[in-house]
Amino acid sequence: MRPQQRSRRQFLIQSVAGLGGAWVAANYAGIMEAQAFVQQAASSGQPIKLAFLTEAQAAEVDAMAAQIIPSDATPGAREAHVINFIDRALVTFEKNQQQAYVKGLQDLDAQTKALFPAAPRFSALTSEQQIQVLTAMEKTPFFNLVRTHSVTGFFASPIHGGNYNKVGWKLVNYDDSLNHKPPFGYYDAQPLPRR
């Protein structure tokens, strides 16, 4: 094992402390890849190797996630690399949702063509058109699943591939230091008696 791999492995072991050995063994590849992605993305910005989704599927899911948590003056799902979280989740914790994605993306395509017959695919639509398509789908289990995964990827620990550079946590002022001293907020910092 090369030194770089060793240190990465060591980092992984430390960062997944709390997982049982057998579980880590069974899901090791997935976590390892998520970790590898995090490191690679940090150092190179090169495209990553997908674990479950095809490049084309990933582009559609990424477009959906980017509408669920859009990028504007502050980072959104795209800057958080939510697509990476979702792709990794589909080979680890959320394996049982693989078919839901395959089928759901077909439905997304059908909905896109129903509203915009000339469109090649959802991700090629303008933002306004994408919102129209998703609004038509927002009550479907697939949309809810992608919403759940997008929000989760935005706010889960960066070790899982999303929440890149903690952009999700920063957006809501969440301090992940896990060691806090009172006063915690505005009201408990006010002098006594509190009226």
Binding site: Q67, E138, A156, G185, Y186, D188
Partner: protein, 555 residues
């Protein structure tokens, strides 16, 4: 750790290692009795608590060996409103690890008040309610409350108030921080003339008995504690039990029957081990501490020719008078940040409405607790105002605006014991071990719904008094399961109407003791753990005294 063979006639088998089982194990083993504890869950991070994850996503997706709660897809259960309905798949879950629910609970450690031990006398009969007096008084239990508070390690401050149980001894550790939500409670209480109390919490605010104090990490309720500040059975009682060299804790042991002989005495228990292989562990006596749902289910599964209705159930009361635990939530958005994700879940309580008031026109009371707790994923998925957009630019704007500004009041409310509310064996559904699933039948008393509505309104008043905006609350609904389940093996003096006597011995079986939330005759204000712990210390005292007086065989 000492190990016993299944054929060793140990003094006690204890089923369950949670709030009550942990205390029974420690008390009996350190007093010289040979004890085997059968725990259906695993070890968790016992002895290496620093490995407890603070990763929300991992905590929500534990590996089978890291699970801290039961899994409703394995420990299956069903729910129905009443006897006419067909029960459907339920989501009831409970602590399932060495230490039980105390490994992950919020830690509220309120005592029952003196009059909560004789509510029937105090209030008079209520139509449709199974309200009854306890066979013990507050004064009989009071020393054991103190013992539990000091041996477990409870943070708090003694107060002199008609709304709080009187204490002969203060808490061993100072209170946890009041938090911003607690400060808002103080502001609201000052305006409305109410009483705020620093909640007694089973999380040590400072080092105590070799454990370090809480670091306010905020990944609290539902997570294992990585600094051992939560005073669970797993970091207080079980280590002492094991150190006595008289106690073996056997994990992944799923008990299916308490076995008896022709004379009606317990001879041991039959359980499935990790590989689902049946093992019979011999014992001179059994202590059942599996929680209200599971203890009752196990008795009902332990049928025999001598006990055709299930073990210890000549009264037909086993499983009945179930109280699942009702709560009411109300929230609003504050101008300034609370950052209530830091620290323990709840720091403060408003206690003025703990007693019932006949002027309200119904029987019931409750304890209001201040919180705003949201871990990030939970916040993003479920934490926003219900009218806020669910996705898109509006959702993101709401995420930013509401973050850390939510003030929530959770009230823990009376649920009266009803004979018709119960657990029994589902006739159709089986759990992963092929045993009948736990079936819950429950609809709260009409007064309980009025109580919940009362607290919904009171919460809104307090939220308005502190200037909360966009307040949302309810509609109220009653519980369908969960870790606060109580009352299925009630204690009493009359074997025809209760399951155990005042010392937790089954009326029908001389060497069977049932010690857990199932014994609660009335539910208090839905903060059961401290009372369960005090009862366990008291039960252990009496078992030890009796066992020493004679031989265990004459228990």
């Amino acid at each position: 750790m000492i190990q016993f063979t299944p054929s060793t006639d140990v003094d006690f088998v204890i089923i369950g290692s949670g709030a009550a089982g942990g205390i029974m194990a420690k008390q009996l083993s350190t007093n010289g009795f040979k004890v085997v504890v059968l725990e259906q869950g695993g070890w968790g991070k016992y002895g290496k608590e620093h490995e407890y994850t603070k990763d929300e996503w991992l905590n929500d997706h534990p590996s089978p060996e890291d699970r801290l709660m039961s899994d409703p897809s394995r420990q299956r259960n069903t729910f129905r409103r009443n006897d006419k309905e067909k029960a459907t798949s339920g989501t009831h879950s409970y602590g399932c690890v060495v230490g039980g629910g105390t490994v992950t609970y919020g830690g509220s450690s309120w005592r029952h008040l003196p009059w909560e031990f004789n509510e029937l006398t105090h209030v008079g009969p209520i139509a449709g309610s199974g309200l009854a007096d306890w066979p013990i008084t507050y004064d009989e239990l009071e020393p054991y409350y103190s013992q539990a508070e000091w041996e477990m390690g409870i943070s708090g401050k003694r107060v002199n108030s008609p709304f709080v149980a009187p204490m002969t001894k203060d808490y061993p550790v100072p209170p946890v921080p009041l938090k911003a939500s607690g400060a808002l409670f103080e502001m609201g209480a000052a305006k409305l003339g109410l009483t705020v109390v620093n909640g007694p919490i089973a999380i040590i605010s400072q080092p105590y008995m070799g454990r370090s104090g809480c670091v306010n990490c905020g990944m609290c309720s539902g997570f294992g504690c990585h600094v051992k500040a939560r005073s669970s059975s797993a970091v207080t009682m079980i280590p002492l039990a094991i150190a006595s060299n008289n106690c073996e804790v056997r994990v992944n042991s799923y008990v299916r029957e308490i076995s008896t002989d022709a004379s009606g005495r317990v001879t041991g228990v039959t359980y499935f081990d990790k590989d689902k292989k049946e093992v019979f562990q011999k014992a001179k006596a059994v202590v059942l501490s599996a929680n209200a749902g599971e203890s009752a289910r196990l008795l009902l599964m332990s049928k025999s020719a001598r006990f055709p209705q299930g073990l210890a159930n000549s009264s037909g009361v086993v499983g009945r008078y179930l109280m699942l635990g009702n709560t009411v939530n109300a929230s609003g958005i504050m101008d300034q940040p609370l950052n209530d994700y830091k620290g323990v879940v709840t720091g403060a309580g408003i206690v003025d409405f703990v007693p019932s008031d006949p002027k309200r026109g119904f029987y019931g009371g409750g304890r209001m607790t201040a919180r705003g707790f949201d871990t990030p994923i939970s916040y993003g998925l479920r934490g926003l105002h219900p009218d806020s957009p669910k996705w898109g630019a509006g959702y993101k704007k709401a995420l930013m605006e509401e973050a850390n500004h939510k003030f929530t009041i959770t009230s823990f409310v009376t649920q009266q014991p009803l004979e018709s509310n119960r657990v029994d064996l589902d006739p159709d559904v089986k759990d992963e071990w092929g045993l009948p699933a736990l079936r819950i039948t429950s609809t709260s008393h009409p007064d309980d719904f009025k109580s919940m509505e009362f607290f919904r309104q009171k919460s809104i008043e307090i939220l308005e008094a502190v200037g909360a905006k966009r307040i949302w609350a309810g509609p109220v609904s009653d519980s369908r399961g969960g870790a606060h389940n109580r009352g299925t093996c009630r204690m009493g003096n009359d074997p025809k109407t209760s399951v155990v006597n005042k010392f937790h011995r089954a009326h029908d079986v001389p060497n069977l003791f049932i010690v857990d939330g199932s014994n609660l005759v009335t539910g208090g204000r839905n903060h059961p753990t401290m009372t369960i712990q005090a009862l366990a210390f008291r039960a252990a005292d009496n078992i030890i005294r009796n066992a020493r007086r004679g031989t265990l065989n004459n228990l």
